[in-house]
Amino acid sequence: MLDEGIISRSKRIISLSELPLGQSAVVVRLPQDQALLARLAAYGLLPGVELQVERQTPAPVILCGATRVALDRKTARAIMVLF
């Protein structure tokens, strides 16, 4: 479920590539590129969605709901999460 507007002061916005393993965070911003955004949205990655990082090496793997997605680093850097 989307989890919008819950912003606590102790949290900060970082890029997905910096998110520590096993930690949950909420997506706040996706890349601007329309095609890329459409693909991420298709996997359920949208602002407000909670995700977890399972791996950062050799490339990021995230878990979003029951969907596991592998990303390249460049894309991961362009996704901002609230952690």
């Binding site: 459409a38 949205a41 490339a59 793997v61 029951a66």
Partner: protein, 642 residues
């Protein structure tokens, strides 16, 4: 009556399709593309229904060739019912697509498949309430065990009889109309609805939403007048795609509120996941799997054991002498005799090559491929190798066509179609044409250089460096961006053997239809070249080049025949080896490996990449092979080692 199965990849669509259609299905490529669409017939209740299994889609705006084909099929074909198949545990992210399909005005049944996997994660769903809220039939199924499939069939029968009752009249359901977009988008949708013709296969609301999300292909399907008008209506914002996706997701979340029951939060990473994804254990495992599936099974069992049996025992010992005998007794015309039989005949070379050499390699490969595909391992393989392939402008997916090239370059060139962008396909096609020796050629070269370890090392290094350099140069020169790597990693599943066999059979059958004519054509071309003397003239033209490489003039013959069958070239070299120095052997082996691919691979290249691209590839490969051969010869003649 016609029904279509749509849904994301890896949701078990093909299993449901097989269940509905039984044994009889035809898989063909959608015209002008490289994407498979399966069609079959089912008996639903008392109705004979055509069933179409479409390639996987994540959304209605196409991002890949597969998605574009599915969208086209939905646009072009008249169907009575759509079955949206989803993986139940991914319902939250899949329901927005269900809503998009409802907005398009399609009569719909939602199939909640793989319910067993969802339950394992502690996820259950109140499908009766979901059905009420969505206003369409929702059926829980487990494709692998058959659970719920009879009910799915009943739902299909009922929906079909309903759709027959109000023939052709499609309306958007109140649920889909109730999705409330932001004020500017809602205003745009109203205006577009008033402006667009209502005779399109998609509702005007759906068309307007697709255009809003930057769907150029959809825009092109409208009348020129509408194209002009719709542009003026578009709201001014750069986040329209995001807004549409968010609106649908909110609508879908509110429909699901209180219906999904989760006892656990999220699937924990299993030991198998870390085993396959962690490079420390994943890479050795990958090497083992590639070794077993590709090398042992395809390379040794398929390409050596079975090929040897068919080629020697069946063709050389039985079939060829028999054909030679029959043809010789029927005609005394030497031209006709050589066209059909003897060394380069259509039956004795073309048919033999297709059946004895290519068929075993293709069958074993497609079997391995289907096994890896259905087990869900393939995306993990691509994930682990992605970094390496990024260097040469490819993504991890390229591991398949490239490793397949060591089996049969013709088939590997065909498989490059699984790569996502045209740019990647061109890079892979070039590397295949230039630097990957096929099994037949590899066998002879290994035998040739086996006794000269240093020569073998120089050969492998040179060819490897050339492959890498070709990739680097093309990555630099070709327009477009290096591929993005965003890939769903489905859970590992035990492949259903029946499905694997079926997939293998369909693909082998289809491939055979494609390739057979190429090999027959190749042997006719050899015959023509011999009859007209063109081959002899080409040998004369090539002879001076041989001197540049430090090779005797007779090597020209070897190179030319290498074009018709790569291993013929290498085998010719094998026959000459006593007259050649180690340096000459090394240079010849390198040049022959790099030299233009066999004629079947060239024809396949023309079919897949077009004539212009193929000619460019050949125009690069030909001089590159001789230049590198020349340079290698010069370097080696300076050193005393060889």
């Amino acid at each position: 009556m016609k029904i279509m199965l749509v849904g994301s990849p890896n949701v078990g669509k093909s299993l449901l399709f097989n269940w509905l259609t039984g044994q009889y299905a035809a898989v063909s490529n959608y015209p002008g593309t490289t994407v498979e669409v399966a069609r079959g017939q089912a008996l639903v209740d008392t109705m004979v229904v055509e069933v179409v299994d479409t390639p996987g889609i994540y959304g209605l705006v196409p991002a890949t060739e597969e998605e574009a084909v599915t969208r086209r099929v939905l646009w072009e074909e008249d169907f009575d019912l759509l079955l949206h198949v989803v993986d139940t545990k991914n319902l939250e992210r899949s329901l927005p697509l269900t809503l998009a399909l409802m907005e398009a005005g399609f009569p719909l049944v939602l199939v909640l498949n793989m319910y067993d996997e969802a339950k394992k994660l502690g996820l259950t769903i109140d499908e009766g309430e979901l059905e009420k809220r969505l206003g369409i039939p929702c059926i829980i199924t487990i494709g692998t065990s058959g659970y719920g499939l009879a009910r799915m069939e009943e739902a299909v029968a009922e929906a079909l009889s309903k759709s027959e009752a109000h023939k052709g009249v499609r309306g958007i359901s109140p649920v889909a109309m109730g999705i409330s977009y932001s004020v500017p988008i809602a205003k745009y949708l109203r205006q577009a609805d008033g402006m667009l013709a209502h005779s399109y296969p998609f509702s005007s609301r759906s068309i307007a939403l697709l255009v809003l999300q930057g769907d150029e292909e959809m825009k092109g399907w409208l009348s020129p007048q509408e194209q002009g008008s719709i542009k003026t209506l578009l709201p001014d914002s750069d986040s329209l795609t995001l807004q549409v996706a968010m609106t649908r997701r909110r609508a879908s979340d509110s429909i699901l509120r209180g219906l999904l029951f989760a006892s656990e939060k999220s699937p924990q990473q299993s030991w198998l996941d870390s085993l396959t994804l962690n490079p420390i254990t994943g890479v050795p495992l990958l090497v083992l799997i590639v070794y077993l599936c590709l090398y042992r099974f395809v390379g040794v069992f398929g390409a050596v054991t079975v090929v040897d049996f068919l080629d020697k025992k069946v063709f050389s010992d039985l079939f060829n002498p028999f054909v030679d005998h029959i043809v010789d007794s029927l005609t005394t015309n030497q031209l006709i005799r050589e066209l059909i039989a003897h060394e380069y005949g259509v039956l004795t070379l073309g048919l033999r090559y297709a059946v004895a050499v290519v068929f075993p390699i293709v069958t074993t490969f497609f079997f391995s491929f289907a096994l890896l595909e259905d087990s869900g391992y393939l995306p993990r393989l691509a994930y682990l190798l992605d970094r390496v392939f990024q260097w040469v402008g490819l993504s991890g997916r390229a591991v398949l066509p490239l490793s397949l090239g060591f089996g049969c370059g013709t088939m590997a060139t065909l498989v490059t179609r699984t790569l996502e962008t045209r740019r990647e396909r061109i890079i892979a096609t070039m590397i295949l044409a230039l630097a990957i020796p096929c099994s037949a050629q590899l066998g002879v070269i290994l035998a040739l250089l086996a006794r000269h370890t240093l020569a073998l090392f120089i050969w492998a290094m040179t060819v490897g460096i050339v492959a890498l350099a070709a990739g680097l140069i093309l990555d630099h020169l070709l327009p477009g961006n290096p591929p993005r790597f965003i890939l769903e990693l489905p859970p590992l599943r035990w492949p259903m053997l029946r499905n694997v066999f079926r997939k293998t059979a369909t693909r082998v059958n289809w491939y055979f239809m494609e390739i057979m004519s190429l090999f027959l054509l190749a042997s006719v071309l050899i015959w023509l070249g011999r009859v007209t003397g063109a081959l002899d003239r080409l040998v004369i033209i090539m002879t001076p080049l041989m001197a540049r490489l430090g090779l005797p003039p007779s090597a020209a013959h070897v190179f030319l025949y290498g074009f018709f069958r790569r291993d013929y070239g290498a085998a010719g070299l094998y026959d000459m080896q006593s007259t050649l120095s180690v340096r000459q052997l090394t240079v010849a082996a390198v040049t022959l490996t790099l030299f233009i691919p066999c004629i079947a691979q060239f024809i396949m290249m023309v079919k897949e990449r077009g004539l212009a691209t193929s000619l460019v590839v050949v125009a690069c490969v030909f001089p590159a092979a001789f230049l590198i051969g020349f340079l290698l010869n010069s370097v080696l003649s300076l050193s005393l080692a060889l």
